[in-house]
Amino acid sequence: MKRVAVLVLGLLLIAGLATTASVAGKLLIWADDTRTPVMQIVAAQFTAAYGVEVEIQEVGFGDMRGQLATAGPAGEGPDILIGAHDWLGELIQNGLLEPIVLPGAMIDEFDPVAIDAFLWGAQLYGVPYATENVALIYNKALIPVLPSTFEGLLTIAKGLTDAEAGTYGLLIQQPDPYHTFALHSAGGGYIFGTNAQGVLDPCDIGLDNAGSIAGAVVLDQMVKEGIEVAGADYSLVTGLFYQGKLGAMIGGPWTLPDAVKAGINYGVAAIPTIGGGTPKVFVGVQGFMISAFSANKVLANLFVKDFLVTKEVMLDLYDRGGRPPAYIPALAELTGNADIQGFAASAANGLPMPKIPQMGSVWSAWSDALALIVNQQLDPATAMQNAADQIRTTLGCPTE
């Protein structure tokens, strides 16, 4: 009897799966656990307005890309999904995304960096809703007034550093290109240049240009002066900061809840100019995308344009996720929030994280270069040169 019950259950499951595919006239949205509750509210509003059913399916953020690649072409994918802009290259190259049409006036209501992040060539492939980036987070008890230059910050940091006592002035977790990019970019370092079509050119690699090397030299100097130390990884840097033993670090919004718990009086600010140049941090942008395999592209576009791009939904999403809104009217509501404003100030000089899949080969080589610099095993110029050449070799580009 048990077997029969199992079989019946199996049949029901198959029937259930068949109904969660993108069906003409009904919207299916993939969202992760933090965004599902907000989406359910919006979905109910849409259904009330138009009598069109909207189903929200909870899919893990990390699984979404992979599942879309198999479910989309099989006709079982969603109409709309919520993801990160740096998926764009992979998803577009796999033929999974549909361009989105937004009126120009609506585009102007978004943070330009966020819109730029979802542009592929001239076409928009997503509607941004939140940005995420690092900034300088400092302990106001140790650094009451933030200097206007990075050099000034280093002088203060050196004064605060006492390895015997276990106190440090400024730490950047290593080897970690994401947190170190600001040093390279201040002098004009970049990862990929842009080609004539406005798309990143994977063979134009700027990790060994003068600016990138200058940034690596700054890191090397920090190590030589004992400010930066080998072995300072994420848990160590944040741990020291929460104990009040670290003056400043480069970190993201995810480090703040524990700083609040630890009772640290912190400030969030843009990283000061390095050698007169403005540091650019990576900006990650989250947003709504439409599947190329959707049977409801026009409907999905209407849903995104009229129901998601509102101040209320954007603020609701902010309340759930805590990430700064990319929608300016929503961001303007948060002027009283110093943390958000600090990260926004840092993002204002930011660059969208490169969104071509070739980025995968950059992290490894670049991290290796940083490790060699921090361990003092190779001079900064050679380390960056090697990393750039390794990337060129992996990507099949001509090496210089």
């Binding site: 077997r3 029969v4 079989l7 199996g10 049949l11 198959i14 003409a24 006239g25 307005a49 138009y50 009598g51 069109v52 690649a69 072409p73 006709g75 992979e90 577009i92 190259q93 796999n94 033929g95 999974l96 049409v101 390895a163 079509q197 994977p202 130390v229 080998a230 072995g231 300072a232 848990s235 160590l236 190329a292 049977a295 409801n296 592209k297 026009v298 409907l299 576009n301 209407l302 071509i356 899949p357 070739q358 995968g360 080969s361 992290w363 490894s364 080589a365 290796d368 270069a369 490790a371 060699l372 361990n375 095993q377 190779l378 090697n386 390794q390 070799t393 992996t394 990507l395 099949g396």
Partner: protein, 519 residues
Amino acid sequence: MIPSDALRWVLKIVFLSLIAGLAVFAAISLAGLGSPVLAVLPLVGAGGLIYLFLSPRAYPLRWLAPGVLFLVVMVIYPIGYTFMASTTNVGTGHMLSKTQAVHQLLERTYSPPDAARYAFDAFEDPAGDLALVLTGPSGRFLYAGGEASRMLDPDERAADDDGDGRFDRVLATYRRLDFREVVQRLAVLQTLRIDLEGEPVGLRSLPDFTVLRPLYAYDGAAATMTDLEKGKVYADKEGIFTAEDGEEIFPGYRRSVGLGNYLRLFTSPAIVGPFFTVFGWTFVFAGLTVLLNFSLGLALAMLLNDPFLRLRHVYRVLAVLPYAVPAFVTILVWRGMLNLNFGVVNQILVALFGAGARVAWLESAMGARAALLLVNLWLGFPYMMIIALGALQSIDVSLYEAARVDGARWGQQFRRITLPLLLMPLAPLLIGSFAFNFNNFTLVWLLTEGRPPIIGAQTPAGATDVLITYTYRLAFEGARGNQLGLAASISVLIFLIIATISAINFRLTGTLEELSKNV
């Protein structure tokens, strides 16, 4: 209650008919999805199952069938699939089949810069047929029954009943839909392509219909894709339509590359570069790990097997503890303890011997390799100890008594009795341990990530990278996203290496059994 034979028979029939029904349902669905080959499988499977349960001759097979089925599904099919994948270029940008990719490209449209836009009103008759009135710069059109025609002013086919300037009915029976009703029919409206004065017009986004010309034309004979907007021709190049100037059209598609992935493994400078360093270290790592772990495990086992040792049961439990903690937790704890400036190991060394005694555990090549072996020793010796303890207890004590009577010393007893009798049952396990550590991704990735980097290597590679971590970097962190085809070819190679080791394992086991007959 034991069911009677009749009830049992009825249950069996119900069960089998459900299976048959399910198989037919699955076959029809699969055939509907366009995979007739796959559709045959459930039918064959169900047929086989019914034969198994109804034929008395197949009775013994009922017990074998599930095992064979799982062997096929879990082992043989994945190996076959991996090999198939290894002969293709599947990966980021090459996920779809060529048919799917071409189909998707042919659906793409473009609007010329000066394209006309048409505001629309939608109408529906009681049968559910849709009609449209499209108003554009060149006039007003009525679309119904699959055809569009220019409207006169006034046009007898349309009626404005309330005089608000918009038509309320067309063709007598079609009533105008309000916006809410239009939204509900958008899925149908987006599929319409209306021929208006020789130009295809469709709905791409609200509120207007626009001219939507097909962007691509596919020439099946020449296998080229032509961009009709730019007039550019793209030909197949490694599974992606590429123009002469190198511009590519995404998505690309899967295609066979024969043994190309294997050739790349051995010829591409991006892969061969540090390959042999990594390959060598993999063998050294796996071999030394087995040697060290077994030596320590055996030594402890002999100590704890000594009946004169007090509290030996307590020690046994303590020695097994590292084995009981999840490995990834242990590895991360060790990683913290081995930290150059903040780790407790170096703090102890500095306190004992001064600042010069600090060891760059994770930063220098030799330090990292030593650290890897050390942590693996911590993780692995309890297992060796447990199996050695078991094997030791199975050795007949009278052998040692006889040896003592013959005047054999401890060392001779160990070499002549303990070691051969231990190695006989343990050799397969040691070889298994070698094979496991050959592929020990977790340990290397969590402890060192393959670092420190090999200076000047052509592709990112580290002093502690083993084959599997190196290939992970190549296949998933290299080039254009995920190179699943390449990864599959490396998996096949690793499978062959492990299969060879297993074959040696079987051969050795056989040999040792032969030996034991003479003892």
